[in-house]
């Protein structure tokens, strides 16, 4: 138990420090990397709660895919940090107000009867988080699960359609045409007289 608490506090402290660093560092790439650290440590905390499926999926999806694309974009930007920080003092009171309200709301909601938070109990040895989640998703919540899937699919298609503009002025290759090319299309043999 002592080891578990020590591990929890280690990850929790890392999480809070990384989250604070993420919003305070000046360099956007550093901020993105701190966000990666935040995701990673929260995955570790989920592992402590024996939710290994969620923890690994968090690393796989957010750290492995989403944040890579984030970094990809952030690295390409030439952000003028001084300009962004110009209104920092001006907006600070509003920011503080919003965050305090959010904290109060969270405390009220999480302490309410709806969540009914208890101290997590250790699960039996044969407990498999993956299997439990799968059973829940494919029995009780099968329709919400499938509807969410369809909505995501629609969103993907919509995003592709929005960005797919046929440009006529660009020069692009047609690979199937390139593969199907014949010698006769490219080379013309001409017989010349000897002199």
């Amino acid at each position: 138990m002592l080891v578990q608490s020590a591990v929890f506090y280690f990850f929790a402290t890392t999480l809070v420090i990384a989250a604070l660093a993420m919003i305070t560092v000046r360099n956007p790439v550093h901020a993105a990397l701190f966000l990666v650290l935040v995701f990673f440590t929260s995955a570790a905390i989920w592992l402590l709660l024996e939710a290994e499926f969620l923890a690994i999926v968090l690393v796989l999806v957010y750290v492995g895919a989403v944040m890579v694309l984030f970094l990809f974009v952030v690295m390409m930007l030439d952000i003028n940090i001084a300009k962004i920080r110009a209104g920092y003092a001006k907006y600070l009171p509003i920011g503080v107000l919003v965050s305090v309200m959010m904290v109060v709301e969270m405390i009220v909601v999480l302490n309410g009867p709806a969540f009914n938070l208890q101290k997590p109990q250790p699960k039996p040895n044969d407990y498999s988080n993956t299997q439990e989640l799968g059973e829940l998703l494919f029995t009780e919540y099968v329709y919400p699960f499938e509807i969410a899937g369809v909505i995501l699919l629609v969103a993907i298609i919509a995003a592709i359609i929005l960005t797919m503009r046929k440009r006529t002025d660009g020069k692009r290759q047609n690979p199937s045409k390139q593969i199907n090319v014949n010698k006769r299309d490219r080379v013309r043999l001409v017989s010349l007289d000897k002199d």
Binding site: V63, M75, M76
Partner: protein, 357 residues
């Protein structure tokens, strides 16, 4: 006579024992990685009718050690205006996931460090973390070639991870488990015809091709692309930093080969067990029987074959053009996996013998 030894062994606390095992394993892995680099130079040498390295030690066997010593004593040069911390962190970010993924690889029944239920997902998560090392190295170097290499790596690895993930979906549909030992045991049956490479042939090929692309190896090594962007993301690295990138690349090669074997070629299962017309009494002979029946030696032998394939590809195929890589990943491999998952669903539904009955 050995009582004191067994007593001593059982008196060691499990934490110490496990740590000792891990260190021993990592040491063995590093030696393997070092000799894969030698194997690469030798194999490509022979394919190009050369001798390969043959000066250090007999048949050049001391070459990897000489290389390692040379790289260790070289200076690590920091480029101007490089991000000092991230520049030094990047090689570790590639190395750590490449080693961490080995925690769940079973060498034989029960021969693994962590027999976790979501083993396959864990592997996928760890291999997807490797890209950070490349991206961070490319950005922290403060060099345009390194940055271009990092951008190529990010796009390529994210693209091929999707095809790889779908190939894994096929495997877990067939085996009904995410646990790597269970996946191998689900392939147990008659003989090598029962392994998943037959019913899931398109997924097997997709997985291995995506694996080659994930490790940034030829013919998908545009990330390094020495003819266009010098050496890509590690152009500014020297000494041990450079060596770590290479160690991670070869550790990943071994990892992808091992995974291909576990998922599609029956892991440690022997191809002879249950083979028709194969005299079964051979399996009960004292030494030959042990060699012919299932065991870690089969796993290692099959893995070596795929490592050889990596080297073979490098000597054989010219490098893909960047748009062709993207085309292959998104327009060829991804549809193949999607179609085969659908076909596999039907096969599973009708309990298609002999694999899904």
């Amino acid at each position: 006579m050995f009582d004191w030894l067994t007593n001593f062994y059982t008196s060691i606390p499990p934490v110490v024992l496990m740590t000792a095992y891990m260190f021993a394993f990592i040491l063995v892995l590093f030696v393997c990685v070092a000799y894969v680099t030698l194997a690469e130079r030798k194999v490509i040498g022979f394919m190009q009718v050369r001798m390969g390295p043959n000066r250090v030690g007999p048949w050049g066997f001391g070459q990897p050690i000489a290389d390692a010593l040379k790289l260790m004593f070289k200076e690590m040069i920091l480029p101007t205006d490089a991000d000092r911390f991230l520049f030094r962190l990047a090689p570790l970010l590639t190395m750590i996931p490449a080693l961490a993924a080995w925690a769940v690889i079973p060498f034989a029944e029960g021969w693994n460090f962590a027999d976790i239920n979501a083993g396959l997902l864990y592997i996928l998560a760890m291999t997807s973390l490797g890209v950070y090392g490349v991206i961070v190295a490319g950005w922290a170097s403060n060099s345009k070639y390194a940055l271009l290499g990092a951008l190529r790596a990010a796009a390529q690895i994210v693209a091929y991870e999707i095809a790889m993930g779908f190939a894994l979906v096929g495997v877990l549909m067939a085996s009904g488990s995410l646990n790597l030992s269970d996946i191998v045991m689900a392939q147990q049956g008659k003989f090598f015809w029962n392994w998943y490479w037959v019913p899931l042939l398109p997924l097997f090929l997709t997985f291995f091709i995506a694996g080659v692309a994930e490790t940034n190896r030829a013919p998908f090594d545009v990330v390094e692309g020495e003819s266009e962007i010098v050496a890509g993301f590690h152009v500014e690295y020297s000494g041990m930093g450079f060596a770590l990138f290479f160690l991670a690349e070869y550790a990943n090669i071994i990892l992808i080969s091992a995974l291909t074997v576990l998922l599609f070629l029956g892991g440690w299962l022997s191809p002879f067990e249950g083979l028709p017309l194969f005299p079964a009494y051979l399996l009960h002979l004292p030494y030959i029987g042990a060699a012919l029946s299932s065991g870690p030696h089969w796993f290692i032998a099959k893995t070596c074959f795929f490592i050889f394939c990596f080297l073979w590809f490098r000597a054989t195929f010219p490098r893909f053009r960047y748009d062709q890589i993207m085309r292959l990943g998104w327009k060829a491999l991804l549809p193949v996996t999607l179609i085969w998952i659908f076909v596999e669903g039907i096969l599973l539904y009708i309990h298609f013998p002999p694999w899904f009955d």
